[in-house]
């Protein structure tokens, strides 16, 4: 008994310490530098719905000596934790890592941990991308650390059936008109929401967090000024938007759903809410949610070429190669191939997201392939339309913390009807102070 108690005590010590050591996991891939025809295994980590599976197979067929080992992480947030943990540990990162725009700011602070793609022909293929997308992937020293995959032009997803039931038009052109077409504003959006909620007793949007994200991404400068200064306290434009959203939410326009869960997709099927903010990549998310929740094309979701407050970019990703990769050359080749316009078109068809290269966008706009799940809406062409006038917003190092941990809880208070607009804003400021400024 005595002995086992002692062992237990030591085990405790070891246990706590091991926990603190979480970060220092080790893993190493055997292998040598890339060259010619030798067999190479490339690892790649993506997240959410990336739509790369068929492309991997195609690439392996084109390059018999290359085997691709993909890992896909469920959400961008978890991918961020995964990447940061491995960066901190100094090992374990894949040869290619997908980086999301929201945490690109933090990655930029340690951009020297990633390969400068200029050494692998980045300048030669630079013209593929929209200028601002290529700029985003370039650090202040001019090192290119990421090839753009997709961008996040945002349109409005709406449920045609629910619209009809509420006496609203359900045709996507009429819906675009209803929201104000090119002059669509948040005022109109929330006014329509108030009418809808009053008439049906149901919510207008799923939860306030996503609406807020698109509202902030729409501003010229978001949580940070372009110089990298925090831009929240005393930001009247942001505050006005917050009040607007708070008022609507407190009036019952929010379904108070949990993001990335949505009741296992059921909330998309049972008519809990009628509209949803839809960056290109979100279409893939909705597809997954509908499948999980037992819905299909008949559920009634549609995609309109309109967005309150004008064009906005929300999200979009990059492929980066960490310096720890042992096959940098082969990885760079694969990353360049995956972001080639031709492949981006295929990716877009698989995942519904919107490409970041000019030719791919033109192709999608031209083809206007109907998307079955969205009532045959030509989602690619609509997104190409929504991408016009989109500008990239500067993302600071703590952008994702502010989005998730500062405004997330504050907006949740509104969703739960537990705070007034002022209290929720104050909550956000307090959290900002604790989590970001005093961190």
């Amino acid at each position: 008994m005595k002995l086992s108690r002692r062992t237990k005590a030591t085990a405790t010590v070891a246990g706590v310490a091991a926990l603190a050591m979480l970060a220092t996991g080790c893993s190493a891939d055997g292998g040598s530098a890339a060259s010619g025809d030798e067999d190479i295994t490339l690892t790649i980590t993506t997240f959410g719905t990336f739509g790369y599976d068929d492309l991997y197979a195609e690439y392996e067929e084109l390059h018999p000596n290359i085997t691709i080992k993909p890992t896909n992480i469920d959400t961008g947030g978890n991918a961020r934790t995964d990447a940061f943990t491995k960066l901190a540990a100094g090992s374990g990162l894949s040869d290619i890592v997908a980086v999301e725009e929201g945490w690109l700011g933090a990655i930029m602070e340690v951009s020297d941990r990633f390969v400068d793609l200029n050494d692998y022909g980045a300048q030669d293929i630079k013209d593929r991308w929209l200028d601002w997308k290529f700029e985003q992937g370039t650090d202040p020293d001019g090192r290119v650390i990421g090839y753009g995959t997709d961008i996040g032009p945002t349109g409005l997803c709406y449920n045609g059936k629910l619209f009809e039931e509420a006496g609203l038009p359900s045709d996507r052109d009429e819906v675009a008109e209803l929201f104000g077409g090119d002059d669509a504003s948040w005022d109109t959006y929330f006014k329509l929401g108030a009418e809808y909620t009053e008439k049906t007793g149901k919510a207008w949007y799923d939860h306030s967090g996503f609406v807020w994200n698109s509202m902030v991404n729409q501003m010229d400068e978001g949580y940070y000024t372009s110089d990298g200064e925090l831009n929240i306290k005393g930001n009247t434009e942001m505050r006005d938007r917050f009040n607007q959203l708070a008022e609507a939410t407190l009036n019952g326009q929010s379904a108070a759903q949990t993001a990335w869960d949505w009741g296992g997709g059921k909330a998309f099927v049972d008519g809990s809410f009628a509209t949803f903010v839809c960056p290109g990549w979100m279409l893939g998310t909705i597809k997954g949610q509908l499948e999980a929740g037992g819905g299909d094309a008949s559920t009634g979701w549609d995609f309109a070429d309109v967005f309150p407050g004008g064009p906005v970019n929300w999200g979009g990703s990059f492929l980066s190669i960490p310096t720890t990769s042992e096959h940098v050359e082969a990885a760079a080749e694969l990353a360049a191939w995956l972001t080639d316009p031709e492949q981006q078109v295929k990716q877009s068809k698989a995942a519904g997201n919107f490409p970041s290269t000019i030719k791919a966008e033109e192709k999608l706009a031209e083809e206007a392939t109907p998307n079955e799940l969205f009532n045959d809406a030509p989602t690619g062409a609509i997104l190409a339309e929504r991408a016009k006038g989109v500008k990239a917003q500067f993302k600071g190092p703590d952008d994702s913390v502010i989005q998730e941990n500062v405004f997330g809880p504050a907006l949740n208070l509104l969703d739960q009807q537990e705070a007034t607009a002022d209290e929720a804003w104050q909550k956000a400021l307090d959290l900002l102070q604790d989590l970001v400024i005093d961190n």
Binding site: R5, K8, T12, L19, D261, G263
Partner: protein, 374 residues
């Protein structure tokens, strides 16, 4: 084992033919002395080397990190002394996480131990297909915590979960399992209980099995009911094991992470930190807020808390143990006194009457001594 772990100290191969007997003898003598003195250390070395590597070093290193500004990605910054500890001790979220941890711990440990003891007591009876039942209670333990958390968090889902659906069928209000503090703690404690009750029951069962059967039998002969026997014989006899189970439950309970993490995958312990445990806060600090210095400080504070509780447990179990020896010693004294008294009044009838005196003369069975007037 010896050969692989301490090749230098193992006995030399005998095949080498000794040319100079005296030297080889001396060498053998020396080797055997080394064997006696050093080998024991070599035998225990693997544990200590391993412990030093994965236990002690990280512990010390974590402390070093906690003294610095240390960013997850950018690495070591300025030396700040104990500032990280000071700021954590003033951090309301830290105290909130401690409250949550203890609340979940109490909600899980107490029902768990009661249920485990109860189950063990049932399994201790002569029931049919014993092994089957014993294996069944261990089954939940086989399931990984992540899977448990996924299933339970689905069941406890507020809008679409099984439990709230059932409540609403009975016209009861839905419960905010993920938004209200106490319900969320209960939900998480349920996961823990589901997984660990069987495990603890088996350990307690093993202890119960080692309680001598004859004690039970004689108590039964003396008319003690099952309940009485359980409380007066079984429970006192398994006390040391109970202490062990409590200690492991405490350690596990204070380090709870997976269940609250997976209960709401989008946030680190609830949108308003309703069920953010200390380890979860540590995780948020390290990998979300990227402040490794403060995270290390939290790790150390948690370590100290666990050590503190471990010490309390230790002293508690020690006092129980000494109480036991005291009891048995006084029992022996009483027995001895009675024996002597019996000797002295061998010819005269004993105070307890002729029958008992003749029966118990000198050779009392242990249970009978209990009947002696106190």
């Amino acid at each position: 084992m010896t050969a692989t772990l301490s090749p230098g100290t193992s006995t030399p191969p005998r095949s080498s033919t000794p040319r100079t007997p005296s030297r080889s003898e001396r060498r053998r003598h020396w080797l055997s002395r080394v064997d006696v003195k050093a080998s024991p250390y070599a035998y225990v070395a693997p544990f200590f080397i391993l412990f030093g590597l994965v236990g002690l070093f990280p512990l010390v290193y974590t402390f070093v990190v906690s003294l610095f500004d240390w960013d997850l990605l950018k690495g070591q910054g300025d030396f700040v002394g104990l500032a990280n500890f000071a700021s954590i001790l003033q951090d309301e979220y830290f105290w909130n996480s401690l409250f949550n941890t203890f609340s979940i711990f109490l909600l899980s440990a107490i029902p768990q131990l009661v249920a485990a003891t109860f189950i063990a007591a049932i399994l201790d009876q002569n029931i049919r297909s014993k092994t089957f039942w014993r294996m069944s209670v261990l089954l939940p333990y086989v399931v990984t915590p992540a899977a448990v958390a996924l299933i339970f968090s689905n069941m406890f889902s507020e809008d679409y979960g099984l439990i709230n659906n059932m409540l609403q069928n009975f016209n009861l209000d839905a419960i905010g399992w993920k938004t209200d503090t106490l319900p969320s703690h209960i939900a998480i404690a349920t996961m823990v209980n589901w997984r660990w009750t069987g495990y603890n029951a088996l350990i307690l069962l093993a202890a119960m099995q080692s309680v001598p059967r004859d004690v039970h039998e004689s108590a039964a002969l003396d008319g003690a009911g099952a309940l009485r026997r359980f409380f007066s014989i079984t429970l006192p006899s398994i006390r040391p094991t109970m202490v062990f189970v409590i200690i492991t439950a405490t350690i596990g309970g204070l380090q709870i992470f997976v269940e609250p993490r997976m209960f709401d995958a989008a946030t680190a312990g609830g949108s308003q930190r309703q069920f953010q445990t200390t380890v979860l806060y540590l995780w948020e600090m390290a990998f979300f807020r990227q402040n490794f210095g403060k995270a290390s400080a939290i790790a150390w504070l948690l370590f100290l808390i666990i050590v503190g509780i471990g010490l309390i447990n230790f002293m508690l179990s020690k006092s129980i143990a000494t109480a036991e020896t005291k009891v048995s010693r006084s029992r022996r004294h009483r027995r001895l006194a009675r024996y002597r008294q019996g000797q002295a009044t061998a010819s005269a009838p004993s105070a307890r009457g002729a029958q008992s005196a003749s029966e118990n003369h000198g050779t009392h069975s242990s249970d009978r001594t209990k009947e002696v007037p106190r």
